[in-house]
């Protein structure tokens, strides 16, 4: 009974910590509401992303990936693109995560949570990832993007005007690509009669 309560208490502690940090940022530091939201969502997204690539149990990696995508949908809302956020929730959290969780359940053998999570090249991989992050950050800081200082909040009807007038051919091509991918996925994952079981 006590063991069952531990995850619930942990989850409540995490939620309380997030709300507390938000309250501190809003009240004590006097930051904007959107700034506080941005910081918290960014921290949740990066933390969940790190959990995805480092945790041992792959089912938990998949669940952390759903948390990461949810926080990213929140960042899209802060950024002023609510339609992208809705598509992110429906496609990534609703479809791709479920697909990945099913694939995990189909491909795990008993000894699969094995001794080694990482390959032998994990240390060079970490170094190269840090180098990539530093190079991207430096080049972002060194470039003048000719940006406006205020976010442009995009109305959904303006977006759909562009999508179904200027981009109608790519839209149709994407639908054909999706159809081809679905047919290909069914063909690849289908069990051949008489083949290896």
């Amino acid at each position: 009974m006590a063991r069952r309560l531990v995850p619930i208490i942990l989850a409540l502690a995490v939620i309380g910590a997030v709300i507390g940090i938000a309250a501190i940022m809003l009240v004590v530091l006097g930051q904007d509401w959107e700034d506080a939201l941005f910081w918290i969502l960014a921290a949740v997204m990066l933390g969940a992303g790190l959990l995805v690539v480092t945790m041992r149990d792959i089912i938990r990696c998949g669940l952390a990936m759903m948390v990461c995508f949810g926080a990213l949908a929140g960042i899209y809302v802060v950024l002023g693109a609510p339609l992208i956020a809705a598509a992110q929730v429906i496609v990534y959290i609703g479809a791709i995560s479920v697909l990945i969780l099913f694939a995990i359940m189909l491909t795990q053998t008993k000894d699969a949570p094995s001794r080694l999570v990482f390959q032998t090249q994990a240390v060079p991989a970490a170094i190269s990832a840090v180098v990539i992050a530093v190079v991207i950050a430096l080049s972002i800081g060194a470039t003048d993007w000719a940006e406006v200082p205020e976010r442009i909040r995009l109305a959904t009807d303006a977006l759909s005007q562009v999508l179904f007038n200027d981009f109608v051919l790519p839209f149709e091509i994407v639908s054909v690509i999706l159809l081809a991918a679905v047919v290909g996925g069914v063909f690849l994952a289908k069990r051949e009669p008489g083949g290896p079981s």
Binding site: D35, L46, G49, V52, V53, I58, C61, M65, C68, L72, I75, L79, A81, L83, I84, A87, V91, Y92, A95, I96, L99, I100, A103, I104, T107, T109, A112, S114, V117, F118, Q119, Q121, A122, S128, A129, I132, A133, I136, I140, W145, V148, P149, E150, R151, I152, L154, A158, L159, L163, F167, I177, L178, A180, V182, G184, G185, F187, L188, A189, P196
Partner: protein, 103 residues
């Protein structure tokens, strides 16, 4: 801070770096696919941020982001189907034991 393009771009760069580390370092094929999804999401965040801060782009940034999401869904479908097909033959999800083409 939430009103500067640089913050969003650095965030997307960090997400991309985390995904690239996972892709290079994990042994499990499905973990590698999850890392690819993280990298795609990082790039998508950069595209939406450019669309939200550069007025010349207008709505095109969001449209391109929607296209990327759709193509990522197709990629996930085919990639997971390939992993399942390989798993049926090799009985393991670990990529360093896929050595049929090395012999």
């Amino acid at each position: 801070m939430s009103d500067s393009l640089d913050a969003y771009l650095i965030l997307s760069g960090l997400l991309f770096a985390i995904g690239s580390f996972g892709f290079l370092a994990r042994r499990n094929a499905i973990s590698m696919l999850m890392s690819i999804e993280l990298m795609l999401n990082g790039v998508n965040l950069a595209i939406v941020a450019f669309g939200a801060f550069i007025p010349e782009l207008g709505a095109q940034g969001s449209v391109i982001a929607l296209m990327v999401i759709a193509v990522a869904a197709a990629e996930a479908t085919v990639g997971l189907a390939i992993v399942i097909a390989i798993f049926r033959n090799k009985k393991t999800p670990l990529v360093d034991e896929y050595d049929a083409m090395r012999q």
